[in-house]
């Protein structure tokens, strides 16, 4: 997919700005706070429905105005254009999408996964440094884009989890229902939850198996050392190690359901006492490991250097790109927000030399410092420079 142009109205520090993009490389530069990243954030709104930086919509409305609009024109491989329009109205607190002028009622069906984007920014380091929820989010978004069925299971799971927590809390806070009704209802909720949870676990595990190949390749490209990275799915109620060792996928959903059912029964007293659900894939994690040439494996989260974290995250993101490209049959846009300034020059050269293997690229940085290196790989017609100053493209 290509993004031919974008039109911003009252978005962040932009009044009104149209930007026509290059089909290969878009180099956005300017001082910090002038609005480079805002362009990337606007792209995330029309491809993803929300901000990659987790900003709330009201924060994106220009000061002293009531609404913002982002209007983009995408083009697919065979030249068909798609117009995606997002309006956010801060008075009605409402987001409205239009695809080719038609109102989108079911966003996840019509938009999600159709205009894939991979976003790499300093913020992405949260994937390795942050809480398990950051890692689950990374993989969930990846998986949901390639499977609506997964997205549906995930939504249902989130909903039933809320229902269960409400049920446990009500019972604790004196809004209790009679014991027999409560037990029957808790069993029903647990059963439903187990059904969704098992479907989620099996799909996450299957995805990780596929993803690992992409990841190992990206990682070895970025580093000369013999470090071997690994990602392990950690589930509290189901032992995945046997499957990992034998490189198998989990096929027996009943086995997973049984394991979760038993775990829920074991923890029932704790759940009732605390008024919160403690078993399920909302507690799972992805463990990142690195085996050094000293043959000692260690957990990234606790022992890795900053450089190792960065290499891991960049490898994850490049793998995300290739994975989406292959599974959707549709090249994602690659958004690189202020990435290069964080890396040593050797790795920068390496990444730059590699970028031409990717589709359309949007890079933000403070100066024009990388233009010389880029010239080696991109003809003049294949790169556009945009100087951004105070919410305007000035050059």
């Amino acid at each position: 997919m290509l993004l031919n142009k974008i039109h911003l109205f009252n978005f962040r520090n932009y009044d009104e700005q149209q930007i026509n993009f290059n089909k290969s490389f878009n180099y956005l530069y300017g001082n910090n706070g002038e609005g480079k990243t805002n362009v990337l954030e606007a792209i995330s709104f029309i491809s993803f429905g929300k901000s990659f930086l987790n900003s709330s919509e009201p924060d994106c409305v220009k000061f002293d105005t009531m609404a913002f609009d982002v209007d983009g024109v995408y083009e697919n491989e065979v030249g068909t254009e798609y117009n995606v329009h997002l309006n956010y109205d801060s008075i009605q607190k409402k987001k409205t999408f239009h695809l080719n002028k038609e109102k989108v009622t079911r966003w996840s069906n019509d938009i999600f996964g159709r205009f894939p984007v991979v976003f790499l920014s300093p913020h992405s380091l949260e994937i390795t440094y942050g809480n398990p929820s950051e890692r689950r989010k990374f993989f969930d978004i990846l998986l949901a884009q390639t499977s609506r069925v997964y997205l549906d299971f995930l939504r249902n799971y989130v909903r039933i989890l809320k229902q269960k927590n409400a049920l446990l809390k009500n019972q604790l806070n004196g809004n209790a229902m009679p014991g027999k009704e409560f037990r029957n209802l808790l069993n029903s909720v647990n059963e439903k939850m187990t059904e969704y949870a098992s479907a989620i676990l099996i799909r996450r595990f299957e995805l990780l198996n596929k993803f690992k190949g992409y990841f190992t390749e990206s990682f070895s490209f970025l580093t000369q050392k013999d470090d071997i990275p690994n990602i392990r799915y950690y589930c509290d109620f189901f032992d995945t190690d046997n499957y990992i060792q034998n490189e198998e996928v989990i096929t027996d959903i009943e086995e997973v359901q049984k394991a979760m059912k038993e775990a829920v029964e074991r923890k029932q007293a704790e759940e009732m006492a605390r008024g919160v659900s403690v078993v399920g894939p909302h507690k799972d994690d992805y463990i990142f490991r690195l085996t050094k040439n000293t043959n000692k494996a260690f957990e990234l989260k606790n022992f890795a250097s900053q450089g190792e974290h960065k290499t891991f995250v960049i490898a994850l993101k490049l793998a995300e790109y290739h994975f989406l490209n292959d599974s959707l049959g549709n090249a994602p846009l690659l958004l690189l927000d202020d990435l290069l300034s964080e890396l040593d020059s050797e790795r920068v050269s390496k990444i730059i030399s590699h970028l031409k293997n990717y589709g359309q690229i949007f890079l933000t940085t403070t100066g024009t410092g990388y233009s010389k290196e880029l010239k080696e790989f991109y003809d003049e017609g294949n790169i556009n420079y945009f100087k951004i100053e105070n919410g305007k493209v000035v050059d």
Partner: protein, 203 residues
């Protein structure tokens, strides 16, 4: 904001209590009513009072009716061995329109949702159990659950099947599938996946 009239304000406040009526819509409705002739407004207020005075819930199936027992429950042309359980009265009308179902109904008036403070005792489950336990007279052989395929609908289905099962009555649920007249190609993945899951043997 300037309060023009307390009477108007009271009406607007009452109207906003209705489902999916926001303040803006309530104000528009109120202004509309102010401009209507007196007899029109009288007709409306009369109709509102009458639904409270005349409309009751059927003693048997809990559907809305003007009699003690509704027309469906009191009909001798219906198959009393089957009860179709639905969430709301409008679901009864939807199924009746198909002309395909000849059994009886039971209206729950909601679905279980602890998040909204709705437990099993807040909807008409007790009334359903009463009908089933009174089985000598009723001779019910099948409960067909026709609830919405939401997380709450699904949970309610599971809850009902758990408490009905010990009574030895067959419990079924209506199938989820591809809408008639639509192409498989155009059906969304989730509906398609559910349809595959609920496939039936033909040979």
């Amino acid at each position: 904001m300037l309060n023009i009239s307390d009477t108007l304000e009271t009406l607007v406040t009452e109207l906003t209590k209705l489902p999916s009526i926001g303040r803006k819509t309530a104000q528009r409705l109120a202004m509309f009513l102010i401009k209507q002739p007196r007899e029109e407004v009288e007709k409306l207020s009369q109709a509102l009072i009458e639904i409270k005075d005349k409309i009751k819930f059927c003693k048997t199936c809990c559907n809305i009716t003007e009699d003690e027992v509704c027309k469906i429950c009191s009909s001798d042309k219906r198959n009393g061995a089957s009860i179709c359980v639905v969430e709301e009265p409008q679901d009864v009308y939807a199924i009746e329109k198909t002309n395909e179902y000849k059994g009886l109904y039971h209206v729950l008036h909601g679905r279980i949702s602890p998040l909204d403070g709705v437990g099993p005792n807040d909807i008409r489950i007790k009334e359903l159990l009463y009908r089933l336990e009174d089985d000598e007279k009723n001779n019910i052989s099948e409960i067909m659950l026709a609830l919405n395929p939401t997380v709450e609908g699904e949970t309610t289905i599971l809850y009902l099947s758990k408490i009905i099962k010990p009574l030895g009555i067959k419990v079924t649920r209506i199938a989820r599938g591809i809408p008639i007249g639509s192409d498989i190609e155009l059906t969304d993945q989730v509906t398609l996946a559910k349809a595959i899951e609920g496939r039936v043997t033909i040979l």
